[in-house]
Subunit: 400 residues, 2 copies
């Protein structure tokens, strides 16, 4: 089946949120304009229970190709995750167990399908072919690459220079990922720039084993432009999940550094490029970053939870943090009425994990009871139903 | 079943023709003296149709352990041969096909059993387990070693320094050979010093996967003590095969350099150490090396073909080379009687592969016809039945 080539949309699909195309943008454009239906894949490792906003760029890029009529495959690296991509890591990764992977996989699809079209997205798992592969199959792949070629990869070079060990299993990782391109007979692979080496391996294997020219599209990583550090990393745990509830998601965006507002507008939303440029100008001309960040937070929550929930999250955030009012919904805890030492009260309500931690919170002026600051840990509190205890800015419990 | 420890024989088995023992000679001695029956293996790659005298050292060592009552396994690396050990090689080895391997395997057993006891020697093939191994099994082994550890191997270091490519398949070779020790649950591995790295890998895997301390016995390589170069190499083709017929074997030994007489006595025969020492003294005191070489040649032919054939080979050699007489048996070639230019005669009898090569042989004074030196390539020879044509010292054809 031939697709109708839509020149404007093709141009957008080949430029927006894209870092580079191998062998060239022009070559891929030619194929797209020919009307040929392509198979495009994006791989993701189930190394954490959810997907973060750093991944959304890939999904926006894929959605554009999906809207052009191409076949989109989300490849879950459930086999390779047991090995672990050495990308950017300085130490040997601890391989995941099957159980951990199964747990992490649970919510993957629903998160991805918040952006991609559920009716048009195919999911594959690389255990499907890798579990069947024999040692001799892997050795055949090994025969196609040289040690020198693998070791060229920047993160391997870094580990060697730093005298950090590299497991031979990690050395095999690019070959495994590369073979996925062959198994999927894919025309295009989309991935972050940190996947460039692995994606080129797939390009090489496709050429050798399928006589096929696989295109590679890289997307920018979500980084703080001031420090160059990754904004979100699954393996390091600091990320905003697509699965976060609206309030948490809104709050986490508001907690981001002002330096990253524009990159987040560019890569975590799919707003028109013109609109992002206007926001950038407002920031440069001195507008309070907080205004722009709330627009960002609203936009992001809208993507994953819809407009209504975005409005509610905005209202809630403003009520609690800006007007210092109590939030609408406070979790309740059952406690017998009576007099309680503040330390005992904090541990009994589960707001402090230990007495010593409770004391530290009180000394640090983080604790309020009935709206009143409590700064002496010998203080006694009269507890009765309806009393609100607060720790920090966002942690509330109401006595039932 | 406990073995009767024979202290004298154990001492000989642990020293004669041995380069080193890991972790120590004393540790292995202790186990041997305990009377425990051990499984001892020696691996050989079927990379040529026959086994050469450089391998005989290992077989003499194994025979001593066999006579002590231990279980001896000859492991044919029919699977790993498809990959090729990178030992000492500076370029990527061309993997063997199954067909080549099957062909090479054909005469292996009979050669090995000229030294080992046919009733007490077990043969195994590592395809037996490796063909069943899954990619994940190989990856498990990969996870047990670091890239840094593998790359330490001297021949890898040399190739890297010389910017010669190393295939990733070759990098896996030591892991495959190492796993053989696990599959065989072996107590001891015997091999040349060039196998030290691979044998230590097997020791490491045995420790990790079987909680077993595998001993490693290395034997010296057959080298020219003056140049340090290998005397025989299957992969380079310059070797004396255990399968060579008595005359060829005798002649090849006689063609060895005088410098290597003593190492060949030490490692290619199983003569008493005292007797070898006496030979060394005779050489040092100025005796004609040719005398000693004929003793060596006689001794070696005796090992593989028995005393009678050794005597015959000696007689034949003396007749042809020392008394300049014609050999007893000359291969015959049918040729129409008549006048032949010497160059045409050499190519027609198959004694030169081309006319230009035939001319070179004539110019180099290597050609005789009917006993007469022919040194002009324009010469014409009268050919009739019974005429003997000779190239060099040992290449004869008789016209039929």
């Amino acid at each position: 089946m031939k697709l109708k080539p839509k020149k404007d949309l093709i141009k957008e699909a080949l430029t927006k949120q894209i870092a580079g195309i191998i062998p060239s943008r022009e070559a891929l454009q030619k194929v797209l304009e020919s009307g040929k239906k392509l198979t495009i894949y994006w791989g993701i490792d189930p190394t954490a229970p959810d997907i973060h906003l750093g991944h959304s760029t890939n999904l926006f890029v894929l959605r554009r190709f999906q809207r052009l009529g191409h076949k989109i495959i989300g490849l879950v690296g459930d086999y390779t995750a047991r090995i672990g991509d050495p990308s950017g890591r300085t130490t040997i990764r601890i391989p995941l167990t099957r159980l951990q992977i199964a747990k992490n996989l649970k919510n993957y699809k629903s998160q991805i399908l918040k952006i991609l079209d559920p009716k048009k997205t195919i999911f594959k798992f690389n255990s499907e072919w890798w579990e069947k592969m024999k040692a001799s199959d892997l050795l055949m792949l090994d025969s196609l690459v040289t040690h020198q070629q693998i070791i060229e990869r920047d993160m391997f070079q870094k580990r060697i220079a730093d005298k950090n060990p590299i497991s031979e299993m990690e050395i095999q990782y690019p070959l495994l990922q590369g073979y996925d391109s062959v198994a999927l007979k894919t025309d295009v692979e989309v991935g972050g720039t940190d996947q460039f080496f692995n994606m080129l391996m797939g390009r090489q294997f496709s050429k050798t084993l399928l006589r096929k020219e696989k295109f590679v599209i890289t997307t920018p990583l979500l980084e703080n432009p001031k420090t160059g550090k990754k904004l979100m990393s699954k393996s390091e745990g600091n990320y905003i999940s697509m699965n976060n509830d609206p309030n948490k998601m809104y709050g986490k965006v508001m907690a981001l550094a002002d330096d990253v507002i524009i990159v987040c507008f560019k890569f975590c939303t799919d707003l028109e490029e013109d609109s992002v440029r206007r926001t950038e100008l407002r920031l440069k001309s001195g507008e309070n970053p907080r205004n722009l960040k709330s627009e960002l937070a609203y936009e992001i929550v809208k993507i994953y939870h819809g407009e209504k929930k975005a409005k509610e999250a905005e209202r809630e955030f403003n009520q609690v943090f800006q007007k210092h009012e109590l939030p609408k919904k406070i979790p309740e805890v059952i406690l017998k009425a009576g007099e309680y030492n503040i330390v005992d009260l904090l541990t009994a309500t589960g707001m402090a994990p230990s007495k010593s931690e409770a004391r530290r919170l009180v000394i640090g002026k983080a604790v309020r009871a009935g709206g009143k600051l409590i700064d002496d840990f010998k203080d006694t509190i009269k507890v009765s139903p309806g009393l609100v205890v607060q720790v920090g800015k966002r942690h509330f419990k109401k006595i039932k």
